[in-house]
Amino acid sequence: MSQPPIVEMNNVFLKSDRNTQLFKNLNFRLNAGRSAVITGPAGSGKSSLVELLIGSRRPESGVIELFGEKFGGLGGMRLNGFRRKIGGVGGLFELIPNYTVAENIAFPLILTGARRKSRKESLLKMLSEFSLIKQAGVYPRRLTRVERTLVQFARATIANQPLMIIDEPSAGLDSGTYVRIHEFLVKASYSGRSMIILTSEQNAEILPNSDNYQIKSGELV
């Protein structure tokens, strides 16, 4: 039996806060193990797309399905369950200010109820993978922008979240870190993890197993 798509959006309409039509009949499908790189200029609706995917905003009409289940208009525990399957980086996804780096990274595992031992193991793995061991006990306000982004990547990965949403992956990164992040994304893509990467860069690098989209006139093409 084939796996249901990770994300499916059909005939989605959404108005912006200024009441202009942001999405008109938007259709999008992301199959398991595939990634999507969505480009669009500032104000094209990339962040609104993220808001729709995490359920913090509802479309005027249309159907959104995540992991094979209808998503739009969900509330309470089911919405929380969906959100736990998504790892977010950049844009809306920031760090929890009064938690240390280690606590921020391990937070998704707390929500899934992982035991202390496995939590510790996963945390150490993430800290070393993203070179954050020295910063483990540091609070976000003392981190550089690059470090903050790395912590977000670690947090979005630690619980093996099946979907990762990355809003502007290269924002504020130096070239060295960008190369590392790109390597990480390539590795994640090869491992069969689904990702949605939103960027304003027209020449965004292509990832393996990925499809490129552009937001044009409220549609994904």
Partner: protein, 285 residues
């Protein structure tokens, strides 16, 4: 279990990171509870004092001069059958003279050996549950109607005054209690609201990661309980310490039982929970 441990850690973290706020909360609540408890003790003590006085309350019923001695027994029976009367003792003229001599001395009674103008009487005691002015007045009106009774004496005004005083203490206690509890809830709720307001951004991030509202709110609700409980326990400690150091000769302070104190602490914790829910109203919506 992981989540529960995390929530407890969050609770401790809140207290550790905001020791000043927690200390001020506990201190202000302790003072409020102290005030409440002082009135509780005042009410209990005055109640005991009043009950002790009432237990000696008696009514003197005088027999008319013309009433024959041989019918005294049947009159006694009639009086004891009145609802609320627990004990009747008859005081003959001779007993009255002996009693009077005991009070004023025998010298004043010289020349009254053959004449005894003192009336015969009954001394009546009452059941505990009839010891209030309206019941006593009912008993009085029943007894005065009996054939052979000429007059009834008892401390009517004292009884009414004691009852009014008791009622005033009780009312003040209730008003003060209500105000204290209201202030407790509002003050705790405000503290929690201020604490959570500074963390609103963090809560939003937690929500985006899939944390439920209850998961975020529970540590604060537990904190409300803990602060309420500790404040109440501390106030009782102060009270019991004070009581052990102060002694009154006229009366003894009546403190609630340990069980009552424990229940009060739990109730204070309950108020803390209520404060937590009020303080997190917006977050929980």
């Amino acid at each position: 279990m992981t989540k529960l441990i995390f929530m407890f850690k969050e609770l401790l973290r809140n207290l550790y990171r905001n020791p000043g706020t927690a200390f001020v909360s506990i201190l202000s609540l302790t003072l409020l509870f102290l005030l409440f408890e002082l009135f509780w003790i005042a009410a209990e003590t005055s109640d005991r004092f009043y009950s002790d006085l009432l237990s000696n309350f008696q009514m003197h019923v005088y027999v008319s001069e013309t009433f024959p001695d041989k019918e005294i027994d049947s009159l006694t029976e009639k009086i004891i059958s009145v609802a609320g009367v627990s004990e009747v003792s008859y005081v003959s003229r001779e007993s009255a003279r002996i009693e009077l001599a005991g009070i004023v001395g025998t010298d004043l009674l010289v020349g009254y050996d053959d004449i005894n103008p003192l009336p015969r009487s009954f001394v009546i005691a009452f059941d505990k549950m009839y010891l209030h002015s309206s019941s006593i007045a009912d008993i009085e009106s029943t007894i005065i109607k009996l054939k052979g009774i000429s007059k009834i004496d008892y401390s009517r005004q004292w009884l009414e005054k004691a009852e009014t005083t008791r009622k005033i203490i009780l009312n003040i206690g209730m008003i003060l209690g209500g105000l204290t509890l209201f202030t407790t809830v509002v003050s705790s709720a405000n503290n929690i609201r201020l604490m959570t307001r500074t963390r609103a951004h963090g809560f939003w991030q937690m929500r985006l990661l899939g944390a439920g509202r209850i998961f975020i709110a529970l540590p604060f609700i537990m904190e409300g309980f803990l602060i309420g409980f500790l404040s109440a326990a501390l106030s009782w400690l102060v009270i019991t310490y004070g009581q052990s150091k102060i002694s009154f000769t006229q009366f003894e302070l009546v403190l609630p039982t340990l069980k009552e104190m424990g229940l009060f602490c739990l109730a204070a914790g309950g108020l803390g929970i209520m404060s937590g829910l009020l303080g997190l109203r917006k977050l929980l919506k």
